[in-house]
Amino acid sequence: MADGCDMPPGKPMSAEKTVIDKGAEMLQSLKPLKHFKQQFCSFALFSHDPIRQIETHHFCSRLNHDFHQCAVYNSDSTSAQLIGVEYVISESLFKTLSPEERKLWHSHAHEVKTGLLACPRVPESLYRKEIAEFAKTYGKFWCTWQVDRGDRLPMGPPALMASPQGVNLGWVRPDLVKKRDDRYGISAAELREKRADIEEPDTIEGSNADYWVKCGKGFSVDVVETAMNLRAPFP
């Protein structure tokens, strides 16, 4: 089990409530969920505080060749906590973003090539082509529940996440990686050897991705009071 709360706050589901929910569930089609087809495990850093690192479990659905949308959890068990959302886009879509927008996105090449990103239980050969393509994509990841600092409920605004990078502050702690590797019986080091020949993405002019590496600045998100634009009284 990844770091975080073991027991969710609140009472376990009562039999009565479970029956009510089951009755309703059988009648609903839940179509968008049927499109979650990719699952992988990796690591992320908080962009405002990269010393804080978390293990992540992405469940992704592909809207088209260039775009994935992912629900991110802190484990792959039934008690996993929903900790955020990540969007993954191809190089060509990334190039359409403004320089300011690009600052909020991170690259994936490092975590792919170093074996941090893994698809447990799936033979590497099966997804080799996809992982090579993934190495050239960019992600935007908002974390809504900071379980690593012990929050029993999601507190505060979302945090912008960054990806592991090949600089000291961007390396993932070996104990976190070992814990993950041992759980799945895999080895990041072995994956790194297998992926040595995966191509790096092209350097993009004015990229601004992984902004913190180049400019030493992360992003914090703050809540600010303002006048609400109304069409009726509130609340």
Binding site: M13, K17, F36, Q39, F59, S77, L82, L104, V221
Partner: protein, 235 residues
Amino acid sequence: MAATTQVDVPGKPTETGTAVLDTATAAIQNFHPINKIHQHLCAFHFYGDDMTRQVEAHHFCSHQSEDLRQCLIYDGDGPDARLIGVEYLVSEELFLALPEAEKPLWHSHEYEVRSGVLFMPRVPGPIERRALEQVCRTYGKTFHFWQVDRGDRLPLGPPQLMMALTRDGQLREDLAKDVESRYGVSFEKEREKREYMEGPAKGIHPLANGAGKGLRLVLTEVDLPPVSSVPRAFV
């Protein structure tokens, strides 16, 4: 289909080979956190600083406990629906235990449920009402990451704190009629049947719903330690 601005997500169509592979790997992996999602709720959110901008929000929820739900928010309920945000729902008890500074980020559900506007597509009234009796007493915290209502083809900009309807006159009539006609529901008729439902036992907390104020999320660049400042850790 959602009433929000219908634009295609940019990108090339998924290749057949990719789709086949996705299905094969999906069969090997477990999707426990996704498979646990069992409930579809439809409601409306508006921006925490702008009530005039309203979004049809499809919630796909799982129970972490009887007192805590976590939901993926989509802009529709079809296979191409866009994942636009997340919502967490907590019981009154859990909400009251939140720090005072946290409470304004949460909204009440009493009005949405009692007015009939929040509903469970395809679930017959009697079952739906049993399930929603509990929702009526909960509080929610919602963030959106993709401003589909302004036509964004990709998720751009900072995250958005969202709020929920709290009284008559707030919901845009055109959005309401569109949902009613697509799902064959009548909010007015359902409202009559839900008159018996009760909101939070202690009444809606005065700090909920932004404490009555507009709230906005702001991104700020923050200085980080130099990227070389941490002793090199090996992946």
